[in-house]
Amino acid sequence: MSDSPPELTVSLWRGVQEGRYETYKVPLRENQTVLDVVTFVQRHLDPTLSYRFACRVGMCGSCAMTVNGRPRWTCRTHVTTVADGGRLEIGPLANLPVIKDLAADLRPFFDKWQQAKGVFASSQTREDDVARVRPDSAARIAADAAIECINCAICYAACDTVRWNSDYLGPAALNRAWALVNDERDAGNPERLRSVAASGGCHACHSHQSCQELCPQRLNPTASIAGLKRRTMWAYVKGEL
Protein backbone atom coordinates (compact mmCIF):
# COMPACT_ATOMS: atom_id res chain seq x y z
CA MET A 1 0.00 0.00 0.00
CA SER A 2 1.39 3.37 -1.03
CA ASP A 3 1.98 6.07 1.57
CA SER A 4 2.44 8.80 -1.02
CA PRO A 5 0.25 11.87 -0.39
CA PRO A 6 -2.83 12.27 -2.58
CA GLU A 7 -2.24 14.08 -5.85
CA LEU A 8 -4.21 15.81 -8.56
CA THR A 9 -3.52 15.20 -12.22
CA VAL A 10 -3.68 18.64 -13.80
CA SER A 11 -3.62 19.34 -17.55
CA LEU A 12 -2.80 22.94 -18.40
CA TRP A 13 -3.00 24.61 -21.80
CA ARG A 14 0.46 25.62 -22.98
CA GLY A 15 0.88 27.80 -26.05
CA VAL A 16 -1.06 30.50 -27.80
CA GLN A 17 -3.96 29.79 -30.20
CA GLU A 18 -2.05 26.66 -31.23
CA GLY A 19 -0.70 24.60 -28.37
CA ARG A 20 -1.31 21.50 -26.31
CA TYR A 21 -2.30 20.39 -22.83
CA GLU A 22 0.62 19.42 -20.58
CA THR A 23 0.09 17.30 -17.51
CA TYR A 24 1.43 18.01 -14.03
CA LYS A 25 1.09 16.28 -10.66
CA VAL A 26 0.00 18.65 -7.90
CA PRO A 27 -0.43 17.70 -4.21
CA LEU A 28 -4.07 17.60 -3.17
CA ARG A 29 -4.72 19.83 -0.16
CA GLU A 30 -7.71 20.79 1.93
CA ASN A 31 -9.61 23.93 0.90
CA GLN A 32 -7.57 24.18 -2.28
CA THR A 33 -8.85 26.44 -5.06
CA VAL A 34 -8.20 25.98 -8.76
CA LEU A 35 -6.11 29.16 -8.63
CA ASP A 36 -4.01 27.56 -5.85
CA VAL A 37 -3.34 24.62 -8.19
CA VAL A 38 -2.24 26.86 -11.07
CA THR A 39 -0.07 28.93 -8.71
CA PHE A 40 1.55 25.74 -7.36
CA VAL A 41 2.51 24.69 -10.89
CA GLN A 42 4.02 28.08 -11.68
CA ARG A 43 5.95 28.37 -8.40
CA HIS A 44 7.16 24.81 -8.05
CA LEU A 45 7.01 23.01 -11.39
CA ASP A 46 7.22 25.42 -14.34
CA PRO A 47 7.92 29.15 -13.84
CA THR A 48 7.23 29.85 -17.53
CA LEU A 49 3.49 29.22 -17.05
CA SER A 50 1.47 32.40 -17.73
CA TYR A 51 -1.88 33.16 -16.11
CA ARG A 52 -3.72 36.17 -14.71
CA PHE A 53 -5.05 36.94 -11.25
CA ALA A 54 -5.17 39.90 -8.90
CA CYS A 55 -7.38 40.01 -5.80
CA ARG A 56 -7.76 36.24 -5.09
CA VAL A 57 -11.05 36.93 -3.28
CA GLY A 58 -13.61 37.05 -6.09
CA MET A 59 -13.80 40.80 -6.56
CA CYS A 60 -11.61 41.73 -9.51
CA GLY A 61 -12.75 39.24 -12.16
CA SER A 62 -9.20 38.62 -13.43
CA CYS A 63 -8.68 34.91 -12.86
CA ALA A 64 -11.43 33.30 -14.96
CA MET A 65 -10.34 30.20 -16.88
CA THR A 66 -11.92 27.15 -18.46
CA VAL A 67 -11.97 24.40 -15.82
CA ASN A 68 -12.99 20.92 -16.95
CA GLY A 69 -14.85 22.43 -19.90
CA ARG A 70 -16.65 25.24 -18.10
CA PRO A 71 -15.61 28.85 -17.52
CA ARG A 72 -15.15 29.56 -13.81
CA TRP A 73 -13.60 32.12 -11.45
CA THR A 74 -10.65 30.05 -10.30
CA CYS A 75 -9.98 31.90 -7.03
CA ARG A 76 -13.41 30.97 -5.66
CA THR A 77 -13.72 27.52 -7.21
CA HIS A 78 -12.73 24.74 -4.85
CA VAL A 79 -10.97 21.81 -6.42
CA THR A 80 -13.29 19.37 -4.63
CA THR A 81 -16.31 20.83 -6.43
CA VAL A 82 -14.91 20.45 -9.95
CA ALA A 83 -12.17 17.78 -10.00
CA ASP A 84 -13.36 14.79 -11.98
CA GLY A 85 -11.76 11.68 -10.48
CA GLY A 86 -8.76 13.71 -9.27
CA ARG A 87 -8.33 15.28 -12.71
CA LEU A 88 -8.44 18.92 -13.73
CA GLU A 89 -8.13 20.31 -17.24
CA ILE A 90 -7.53 24.05 -17.18
CA GLY A 91 -7.42 26.25 -20.27
CA PRO A 92 -7.84 29.92 -21.18
CA LEU A 93 -11.34 31.39 -21.53
CA ALA A 94 -13.10 30.38 -24.74
CA ASN A 95 -14.35 32.82 -27.40
CA LEU A 96 -11.32 35.09 -26.88
CA PRO A 97 -7.82 35.16 -28.39
CA VAL A 98 -5.12 33.59 -26.23
CA ILE A 99 -2.17 35.74 -25.15
CA LYS A 100 -0.23 32.82 -23.70
CA ASP A 101 -1.09 29.66 -21.78
CA LEU A 102 -4.02 30.45 -19.48
CA ALA A 103 -4.20 34.19 -20.13
CA ALA A 104 -6.89 35.20 -22.62
CA ASP A 105 -6.90 38.56 -24.39
CA LEU A 106 -9.96 40.43 -23.08
CA ARG A 107 -9.74 43.34 -25.51
CA PRO A 108 -12.66 42.15 -27.72
CA PHE A 109 -14.76 41.75 -24.57
CA PHE A 110 -14.12 45.33 -23.41
CA ASP A 111 -14.37 46.74 -26.95
CA LYS A 112 -17.91 45.37 -27.09
CA TRP A 113 -18.65 46.92 -23.69
CA GLN A 114 -17.84 50.27 -25.34
CA GLN A 115 -19.79 49.37 -28.47
CA ALA A 116 -22.89 48.69 -26.34
CA LYS A 117 -22.47 52.21 -24.88
CA GLY A 118 -21.72 50.75 -21.47
CA VAL A 119 -20.36 54.08 -20.25
CA PHE A 120 -22.49 56.32 -18.05
CA ALA A 121 -23.58 59.50 -19.86
CA SER A 122 -24.43 62.09 -17.26
CA SER A 123 -27.52 64.23 -17.70
CA GLN A 124 -26.33 66.70 -15.07
CA THR A 125 -23.30 68.80 -14.22
CA ARG A 126 -21.32 69.01 -11.00
CA GLU A 127 -23.24 72.21 -10.24
CA ASP A 128 -26.55 70.30 -10.00
CA ASP A 129 -27.88 68.70 -6.83
CA VAL A 130 -27.33 65.01 -6.27
CA ALA A 131 -29.99 63.11 -8.19
CA ARG A 132 -32.67 61.52 -6.02
CA VAL A 133 -33.49 58.01 -7.14
CA ARG A 134 -36.20 56.18 -5.21
CA PRO A 135 -34.85 52.76 -4.16
CA ASP A 136 -38.27 51.20 -4.67
CA SER A 137 -38.83 52.58 -8.20
CA ALA A 138 -39.20 49.94 -10.93
CA ALA A 139 -36.21 51.32 -12.87
CA ARG A 140 -33.95 51.28 -9.80
CA ILE A 141 -34.94 47.69 -8.97
CA ALA A 142 -34.22 46.64 -12.59
CA ALA A 143 -30.85 48.43 -12.54
CA ASP A 144 -30.00 46.90 -9.15
CA ALA A 145 -30.38 43.40 -10.54
CA ALA A 146 -27.71 44.08 -13.17
CA ILE A 147 -25.05 46.21 -11.48
CA GLU A 148 -22.82 43.75 -9.61
CA CYS A 149 -20.90 42.55 -12.68
CA ILE A 150 -17.14 42.12 -12.07
CA ASN A 151 -16.22 41.92 -15.80
CA CYS A 152 -14.78 38.40 -15.48
CA ALA A 153 -15.96 37.45 -19.03
CA ILE A 154 -17.24 34.06 -17.84
CA CYS A 155 -20.62 34.74 -19.46
CA TYR A 156 -18.90 35.77 -22.68
CA ALA A 157 -16.84 32.56 -22.74
CA ALA A 158 -19.93 30.46 -21.93
CA CYS A 159 -22.12 32.01 -24.65
CA ASP A 160 -22.97 29.86 -27.69
CA THR A 161 -24.09 32.92 -29.65
CA VAL A 162 -20.72 34.62 -29.16
CA ARG A 163 -19.10 31.44 -30.50
CA TRP A 164 -21.29 31.46 -33.62
CA ASN A 165 -21.44 35.20 -34.23
CA SER A 166 -18.28 37.19 -33.66
CA ASP A 167 -20.24 40.45 -33.98
CA TYR A 168 -22.53 39.61 -31.05
CA LEU A 169 -21.96 42.04 -28.18
CA GLY A 170 -22.31 39.30 -25.57
CA PRO A 171 -24.12 38.97 -22.24
CA ALA A 172 -21.93 41.23 -20.08
CA ALA A 173 -21.99 44.26 -22.39
CA LEU A 174 -25.75 43.95 -22.88
CA ASN A 175 -26.31 43.45 -19.15
CA ARG A 176 -24.35 46.66 -18.54
CA ALA A 177 -26.41 48.48 -21.19
CA TRP A 178 -29.61 47.33 -19.43
CA ALA A 179 -28.34 48.68 -16.08
CA LEU A 180 -27.75 52.08 -17.71
CA VAL A 181 -31.05 52.02 -19.63
CA ASN A 182 -32.68 51.88 -16.18
CA ASP A 183 -30.44 54.55 -14.66
CA GLU A 184 -32.64 57.63 -14.30
CA ARG A 185 -29.58 59.93 -14.28
CA ASP A 186 -28.24 58.68 -17.62
CA ALA A 187 -28.74 60.69 -20.82
CA GLY A 188 -27.24 58.25 -23.33
CA ASN A 189 -30.22 56.01 -24.03
CA PRO A 190 -31.14 57.05 -27.58
CA GLU A 191 -27.66 56.16 -28.80
CA ARG A 192 -27.42 53.12 -26.49
CA LEU A 193 -30.72 51.66 -27.71
CA ARG A 194 -29.61 52.14 -31.32
CA SER A 195 -26.37 50.27 -30.57
CA VAL A 196 -28.01 47.30 -28.86
CA ALA A 197 -30.83 47.12 -31.44
CA ALA A 198 -28.43 46.83 -34.39
CA SER A 199 -27.17 43.61 -35.93
CA GLY A 200 -25.10 41.75 -33.31
CA GLY A 201 -27.09 43.36 -30.50
CA CYS A 202 -29.64 41.97 -28.06
CA HIS A 203 -31.82 40.35 -30.73
CA ALA A 204 -29.05 37.94 -31.64
CA CYS A 205 -29.42 36.26 -28.21
CA HIS A 206 -30.92 32.75 -28.33
CA SER A 207 -31.71 32.70 -24.59
CA HIS A 208 -29.65 29.55 -23.97
CA GLN A 209 -28.98 31.00 -20.50
CA SER A 210 -25.44 29.66 -20.03
CA CYS A 211 -24.55 33.20 -18.92
CA GLN A 212 -26.91 33.18 -15.97
CA GLU A 213 -26.11 29.57 -15.11
CA LEU A 214 -22.37 30.23 -14.86
CA CYS A 215 -22.24 33.87 -13.68
CA PRO A 216 -20.25 33.78 -10.43
CA GLN A 217 -22.15 36.84 -9.20
CA ARG A 218 -25.46 35.07 -9.86
CA LEU A 219 -26.58 37.82 -12.21
CA ASN A 220 -29.07 37.07 -14.96
CA PRO A 221 -27.87 38.63 -18.23
CA THR A 222 -30.54 36.67 -20.12
CA ALA A 223 -33.21 38.61 -18.24
CA SER A 224 -31.38 41.89 -18.92
CA ILE A 225 -31.22 41.04 -22.63
CA ALA A 226 -34.94 40.19 -22.62
CA GLY A 227 -35.52 43.64 -21.09
CA LEU A 228 -33.50 45.26 -23.87
CA LYS A 229 -35.45 43.31 -26.50
CA ARG A 230 -38.73 44.65 -25.08
CA ARG A 231 -37.44 48.20 -24.72
CA THR A 232 -35.94 48.38 -28.22
CA MET A 233 -39.02 46.75 -29.75
CA TRP A 234 -41.30 49.46 -28.41
CA ALA A 235 -38.82 52.14 -29.44
CA TYR A 236 -38.84 50.66 -32.97
CA VAL A 237 -42.63 50.48 -33.07
CA LYS A 238 -42.83 54.14 -31.94
CA GLY A 239 -40.38 55.10 -34.68
CA GLU A 240 -37.63 56.12 -32.26
CA LEU A 241 -35.06 53.74 -33.75
Partner: protein, 109 residues
Protein backbone atom coordinates in the same frame (compact mmCIF):
# COMPACT_ATOMS: atom_id res chain seq x y z
CA UNK B 1 -30.63 39.99 -36.34
CA UNK B 2 -31.58 43.58 -35.71
CA UNK B 3 -34.70 44.98 -34.07
CA UNK B 4 -36.55 45.40 -37.40
CA UNK B 5 -36.13 41.76 -38.38
CA UNK B 6 -36.98 40.71 -34.80
CA UNK B 7 -40.24 42.67 -34.82
CA UNK B 8 -41.28 41.37 -38.25
CA UNK B 9 -40.51 37.78 -37.32
CA UNK B 10 -42.52 38.00 -34.08
CA UNK B 11 -45.35 39.85 -35.82
CA UNK B 12 -45.67 37.24 -38.59
CA UNK B 13 -45.47 34.46 -35.97
CA UNK B 14 -48.35 36.08 -34.09
CA UNK B 15 -50.36 36.32 -37.33
CA UNK B 16 -49.68 32.67 -38.13
CA UNK B 17 -50.85 31.25 -34.78
CA UNK B 18 -54.60 31.54 -35.53
CA UNK B 19 -54.02 30.86 -39.24
CA UNK B 20 -52.22 27.57 -38.53
CA UNK B 21 -54.97 26.47 -36.13
CA UNK B 22 -57.68 27.23 -38.67
CA UNK B 23 -55.65 25.54 -41.42
CA UNK B 24 -55.37 22.35 -39.34
CA UNK B 25 -59.12 22.45 -38.66
CA UNK B 26 -59.74 22.82 -42.41
CA UNK B 27 -57.53 19.79 -43.12
CA UNK B 28 -59.37 17.68 -40.52
CA UNK B 29 -62.74 18.82 -41.81
CA UNK B 30 -61.88 18.11 -45.45
CA UNK B 31 -60.47 14.65 -44.77
CA UNK B 32 -63.12 13.58 -42.21
CA UNK B 33 -65.94 14.66 -44.49
CA UNK B 34 -64.26 12.96 -47.41
CA UNK B 35 -64.47 16.05 -49.60
CA UNK B 36 -63.33 15.52 -53.18
CA UNK B 37 -61.15 18.00 -55.08
CA UNK B 38 -64.25 19.18 -56.89
CA UNK B 39 -66.06 19.74 -53.56
CA UNK B 40 -63.16 21.79 -52.25
CA UNK B 41 -62.78 23.85 -55.41
CA UNK B 42 -66.50 24.58 -55.44
CA UNK B 43 -66.09 26.17 -52.01
CA UNK B 44 -62.86 28.07 -52.69
CA UNK B 45 -63.32 29.34 -56.26
CA UNK B 46 -64.37 32.96 -56.27
CA UNK B 47 -64.21 33.12 -52.49
CA UNK B 48 -62.70 36.36 -51.27
CA UNK B 49 -62.55 34.99 -47.70
CA UNK B 50 -60.40 31.96 -48.64
CA UNK B 51 -58.24 34.16 -50.87
CA UNK B 52 -57.65 36.58 -47.97
CA UNK B 53 -57.07 33.75 -45.46
CA UNK B 54 -54.50 31.82 -47.47
CA UNK B 55 -53.08 35.00 -49.06
CA UNK B 56 -52.26 36.33 -45.57
CA UNK B 57 -50.85 32.92 -44.67
CA UNK B 58 -48.50 32.93 -47.68
CA UNK B 59 -47.23 36.45 -46.98
CA UNK B 60 -46.64 35.67 -43.28
CA UNK B 61 -44.83 32.42 -44.09
CA UNK B 62 -42.63 34.04 -46.73
CA UNK B 63 -41.54 36.85 -44.38
CA UNK B 64 -41.17 34.65 -41.28
CA UNK B 65 -39.24 31.84 -42.95
CA UNK B 66 -36.95 34.18 -44.87
CA UNK B 67 -35.88 35.95 -41.66
CA UNK B 68 -35.29 32.60 -39.95
CA UNK B 69 -33.24 31.27 -42.87
CA UNK B 70 -31.22 34.48 -42.90
CA UNK B 71 -30.34 33.98 -39.24
CA UNK B 72 -29.36 30.35 -39.77
CA UNK B 73 -27.15 31.29 -42.73
CA UNK B 74 -25.59 34.25 -40.90
CA UNK B 75 -24.75 32.15 -37.83
CA UNK B 76 -23.95 28.75 -39.29
CA UNK B 77 -22.48 29.40 -42.72
CA UNK B 78 -19.43 31.40 -43.75
CA UNK B 79 -21.71 33.89 -45.58
CA UNK B 80 -21.55 37.56 -44.62
CA UNK B 81 -24.75 39.15 -43.24
CA UNK B 82 -25.41 40.93 -46.52
CA UNK B 83 -25.06 37.77 -48.63
CA UNK B 84 -27.16 35.77 -46.17
CA UNK B 85 -29.80 38.51 -46.47
CA UNK B 86 -29.80 38.36 -50.27
CA UNK B 87 -30.05 34.56 -50.33
CA UNK B 88 -32.78 34.51 -47.68
CA UNK B 89 -34.72 37.25 -49.50
CA UNK B 90 -34.58 35.15 -52.67
CA UNK B 91 -35.89 32.19 -50.66
CA UNK B 92 -38.71 34.37 -49.28
CA UNK B 93 -39.67 35.52 -52.79
CA UNK B 94 -39.66 31.89 -53.97
CA UNK B 95 -41.94 30.88 -51.08
CA UNK B 96 -44.26 33.78 -51.86
CA UNK B 97 -44.46 32.94 -55.58
CA UNK B 98 -45.09 29.23 -54.95
CA UNK B 99 -47.67 30.02 -52.28
CA UNK B 100 -49.39 32.72 -54.34
CA UNK B 101 -49.56 30.35 -57.33
CA UNK B 102 -51.23 27.69 -55.17
CA UNK B 103 -53.72 30.18 -53.68
CA UNK B 104 -54.60 31.64 -57.06
CA UNK B 105 -55.09 28.15 -58.50
CA UNK B 106 -57.83 27.37 -55.97
CA UNK B 107 -59.56 30.75 -55.56
CA UNK B 108 -59.68 32.11 -59.11
CA UNK B 109 -63.10 31.41 -60.61
Amino acid sequence: MNVGLYVWQRLTAAVMVPLVLLHVIVIFYATRKGLSAADILSRTRGSLAWAAFYGAFVVAVAVHAAIGVRNVLAEWSPLKDRDAGILASAFGVLLFLLGARAVLAVVLP
